[in-house]
Subunit: 685 residues, 2 copies
């Protein structure tokens, strides 16, 4: 390594490379293709480019390197970084410069082009019956005639007033009991878990209690912070899964565990830290924001942090102890890694999980920093590849209560399918891979500003119209340089195959037709691969044409082929030839154009109006379990009453898969497209 | 402080004082009246004088002192002190010298004149039904047709073979499950707690499991290490309660908590450390002892520790993970301090405990270092002054199953009384104080070699005959200098009042008669107090006469008066005028001479054959709860069905107490003494 260069690694993206010494961390990030927010243009005025310097962690990544540092702390950073953050290694990216090898963590809020996470809580119906309920009791103080102990004293009253019998008490809660009773002058608010165990005792009148439902996705973690009494979603906090640095998908994480001595513990510690961060954020947001301002003594006086409440807004001002219940869902691998259960066999045929059943784990045993007596409820798993997140979808959508035959599709990094109705439900998983989310596509990107999210191709002219995230006007209504396209995100990718096919650019089998007149079609001079230009360089912010290549089309076909074949094989198993309803869960579902999905053959035929997006149903189900404990029993029941089908062992799986990679014959396979697409497209061969 | 002196404190006795610098620690101990074992006469050959130097702990005791040290480590200590002990601060008392202020801990095994602890497990009948049982199961490995998870797989088999249903699994045990199953080739031994929760999974065939019942006394802690399958008591390990350094009795400990910020935590940490030590000793004793011996290469070669197994003895070679269950009893204050429950109100009228009910606490939550999934069962409390130890006595003796009217007396540092039969039981406590154990008596001492344990006085000559611990021959069969008496222990003290009275040395009211001819009776020249010589200086090892003083007699009267008055008031409450049986629990009971106890009026009249010593019934009850879980339910039932009576609030308590301090009129009050003691004594007034 030259003396004037240094290695810098940015987390969580994992991007690394040499940069010249003495550049700012923002400049380094730009050199390595990492986007850090810098609204003020690096004028040290906005404080948005906060990052965390994680020196000393190099060995963790197996890199031999002498430790070195960023340039020293500058006074101008103090305005934006408080004492605690400073201790944790926070710096302003536009101030600190590279002096040697560095490991940098870019916090979610400092990432430019933040992912547009569609993990908002939906307005779903939930019966109010939380596992944690608060009861107010007043008891008589002990006397010589009646010197009964504190615990039995409140139990007697809880039984008399609320018919709660045979109560236990958490050991740590018991330690608080004598003081709470006497501080509250023998009046206390008692939090009871599942009518069974006292998990908190507060002096005085009952106040609200809170809980959080957390959907631990392979890529994104979303927490829904709820008032357990009103069921209101007080806050939604999302975070990129900190395990992303160990690998993008489930198998990569399992491999990391198998190849690294303490890999499982490290990944578990990271996600637990992430969950604690989410809870911390939710708590922090119950206080007014703080600003650093000058004290009264004039311009040169010292500064201090003061609260700046918004007008007419009341702040709950909660503490971690006010979080009294947690529910967690995630796919089986995320479930196992979180709980430090060996995930090895989940990745190995026949993929048995360590446990199906839900778990009630003391938060302290898991390292979750909330009220010490509280439990974490972890939803049950269906199978090795259909996990607790899918159970979340099921208890949210309740197909087992329906007469209609429903197909539930949940596509994250893996595809999970459930088919059936109240008589029978089967589930399966399919290896869609991450192509439909933009990975493995040359110009694929996350759903972030500049991403092409809608794409149409005129069948006559083969001209492309499109819309990017962050700009309302489509290409045809804009000047080229206004578009600033950067790449294609998942929803754009979902449009492409149908558009390429209906405009005749590709054949049924996904091959680019060679007889095309449009200058958008061309061969890449480097590898001679056919490609089709979606946006010309002048319309982009990256200075080059954004294209879709033959290889990209194949990746999309592989993904959609796996999904469609899975659906077909499941229908065959159930002897079904039609679907009453298709429900698509996840961010994926909110973006899909149903007609185009049918045209490209993403899944089998269904009445278009009956194809529904159900949002983050996994998270909603997790929230339902938080607010209604009956849902927890339901989750265990359904997790053992959905039959898991391993499709890859079907005799003709390979043939079905190959067939489904093609664009299907719409007239024969999609009668519901009749009247929806022009006849010439419907009858196309 | 002079420069050539240093402060040395010895724990657990708490003895402290100045000693000259450069004396050995053994010499220092002798100067301060602490006995350290030194069989070889300080020739550095026996290794019995191991002590632990606890420098740096001075501030803990509020002493301002510059830290300083013992002389450096010497090679000759290596023979007796291994690497781990060396790290913990162990030294040989005959090698290390005082260089400055020191805090020294003398471990139990290094204390000369070790207390003769009568805490052996008795042979009592217990039905075999332990809370932890081990089940062996073989399961089929998972297949594509049957990919059920590991947990559900073993549950199914446990249900099929052993009818165990709805099992849960400890979270930490779950983490071991996948490896145990695969290491054992799908055959595992599963430990199940209360037919309810899996707490351990071992690969392969079922082996034995072990548990320990621990009686946490104010002064002595005794652990009974048992095989849960055979119920055999594998080992009994005792320890002086490490909290003794904070105060001898319950009230002193409660006061320490109230006057010291982290007092409760410190006392709790100390006893938890003590429990872990006891468990560690029991484990250690399952291996052969080790000796340091020369390696083969000749006299100058290096040494190593090797096992020296006893002939024909098999060693279990257990680990802490093999300890799968723990039961604990203790008085209410010990119970609270152990669990870090505020003990303040137990010491404050009307003395309500924090909890009566038994507790099942995860060993890890309590800091007990055994199998990670295991529970500690803590017996329930009856009341503030009648604790879980008394419940242990009750479930051992089962007076609630008897027609006979029984009086159960448990005298440790406090006296606890239970009276009744299967129709009704009441309990109470009386402040006997520690006089009957030898404290507060001028020449009182613990039951250790040299203690006078049996004393008789000839009514004619007033000559004293006695026996000391460690010597079989009585005084009258020995040369004076052979006796080497040191003091009087509890059982000797129990003899004295009856002997002094029947020989006419004291009156009914405990006053020394002035008209005595024996030269043993005299007045102390310093304070003019009457005293009676029990052993002349030449018979002692302390070089002075051992006497019983008027003040000593008063202390004994106070103690026995409190006990007798308690019994009488309880009988009045129950409208009873006679007792069918008296059972005396504790070390106290094993030493009491029943006739003399009646003569002095220790408790009300009862047929002498029906006065029984039941040994450490608290510990036996605790062991019954370990080996038979039905006893745990019984404990909870009885703890709430014994009515606690606060005797001190009785109108005429003071008068009863005063009356009972006297030696009673035997003929009237003790008809059962007729024919047992000579008529002239029986009719004495």
């Amino acid at each position: 390594m030259e003396d004037n260069k240094a290695i810098v690694i940015f987390q969580p993206s994992g991007r690394r490379g040499d940069v010249p010494k003495d550049v700012t961390l923002i400049e380094a990030s730009r050199l390595l293709g990492v986007d850090i927010e810098a609204l003020c243009g690096e004028k040290k005025k906005c404080g948005k480019c906060k990052i965390r310097v994680e020196e000393g962690l190099f060995e963790k990544f197996g890199i031999q390197s002498s430790m070195s540092h960023a340039t020293p702390w500058q006074e101008e950073e103090e305005k934006f970084i408080n004492e605690q953050e400073k201790k944790a290694g926070y710096r302003l990216g536009c101030v600190a410069k590279v002096e040697g090898d560095l490991l940098i963590f870019v916090p979610e809020e400092s990432r430019a082009g933040k992912q547009v996470v569609s993990k908002k809580a939906r307005d779903i119906h939930i019966d109010h019956n939380p596992a944690v309920k608060v009861y107010y009791v007043e008891v008589d103080p002990p006397t010589f005639e009646e010197p009964t102990g504190d615990f039995e004293r409140i139990c007697r009253e809880l039984e008399k007033q609320y018919s709660l019998s045979n109560l236990k008490i958490d050991f740590f809660t018991l330690r608080q009991l004598p003081m709470a009773l006497r501080e509250g002058d023998w009046k206390v608010a008692v939090s009871v878990w599942n009518d069974h165990e006292i998990i908190r005792v507060r002096p005085g009148k009952a106040e609200a209690s809170y809980g959080i439902a957390i959907d631990v996705g392979t890529t994104t973690v979303a927490g829904y912070f709820c008032n357990l009494n009103t069921m209101e979603v007080v806050d939604t906090v999302t975070l990129m899964n900190p395990q992303c640095k160990y690998g993008e998908d489930v198998m990569a994480r399992i491999t990391f565990h198998m190849t690294t001595a303490d890999g499982l513990k490290r990944m578990s510690d990271d996600i637990i830290e992430g969950l604690n961060w989410i809870i911390g954020e939710a708590i922090k947001n119950t206080y007014p924001p703080k600003k650093k301002v000058k004290k009264a003594e004039g311009e040169d006086g010292p500064e201090e942090w003061v609260e700046v409440p918004e007008k007419d807004k009341t702040y709950l001002r909660l503490s971690r102890e006010d979080v009294e219940d947690v529910t967690i869902c995630g796919n089986t691998a995320m479930h196992h890694i979180l709980l430090q259960l060996n995930p090895e066999y989940v990745g190995l045929a026949p993929f048995p999980p360590v446990i199906h059943h839900s778990l009630d784990i003391k938060a302290r045993d898991l390292g979750i920093n909330i009220n010490s007596g509280s439990y974490v409820f972890v939803l049950p798993n269906e199978a090795g590849f259909v996990g607790a997140d899918n159970v979340g979808v099921l208890i949210c959508e309740e197909p087992y209560k329906s007469d209609e035959i429903q197909l539930l599709i949940d596509i994250g990094t893996n595809g999970e399918l459930v088919l059936g109705n109240k008589h029978k439900l089967i589930s399966s998983s399919c290896a869609t891979g991450p192509a439909l989310e933009g990975a493995q596509i040359q110009f694929g990107m996350r759903a972030a500003p500049g991403a092409m999210e809608r794409i149409t191709i005129d069948p006559e002219t083969l001209e492309v119209d499109y819309k990017v995230i962050g700009r309302d006007a489509w290409r045809q209504y804009s000047e080229p340089k206004e578009m600033k396209a950067k790449g294609i995100c998942g929803s754009g990718i979902l449009d492409i195959l149908a558009e390429l096919y209906t405009s005749g650019v590709v054949t049924k089998s996904g091959v680019f037709r060679k007889d095309q007149k449009s200058k958008r079609y061309r061969r890449n001079p480097e590898n001679n691969q056919p490609e089709f230009v979606l946006a010309w360089a002048e319309e982009t912010s990256i200075g080059k044409d954004i294209v879709i290549t033959q290889r990209d089309v194949r990746q999309i076909q592989l993904a959609k082929g796996a999904l469609h074949a899975g659906c077909k094989l499941m229908m065959r198993r159930m002897n079904m030839d039609k679907l009453d309803k298709i429900k698509i869960a996840g961010a994926f579902g909110t973006h899909v154009d149903r007609t185009k999905a049918l045209i490209m053959g993403l899944f089998p035929d269904c009445e278009i109006e009956k194809i529904l997006s159900v949002g983050n149903a996994a998270g909603d189900g997790c929230r339902a379990a938080l607010l209604n404990r009956a849902k927890r029993e339901e989750a265990n029941w359904v997790s053992r009453n959905v039959e898991y089908i391993e499709l890859t062992v079907e005799m003709d799986f390979q043939q079905q898969f190959m067939e489904c990679m093609q664009v299907p014959h719409m007239k024969d396979e999609f009668p519901h497209l009749e009247g929806v697409v022009p006849p010439e497209i419907l009858h196309q061969k």
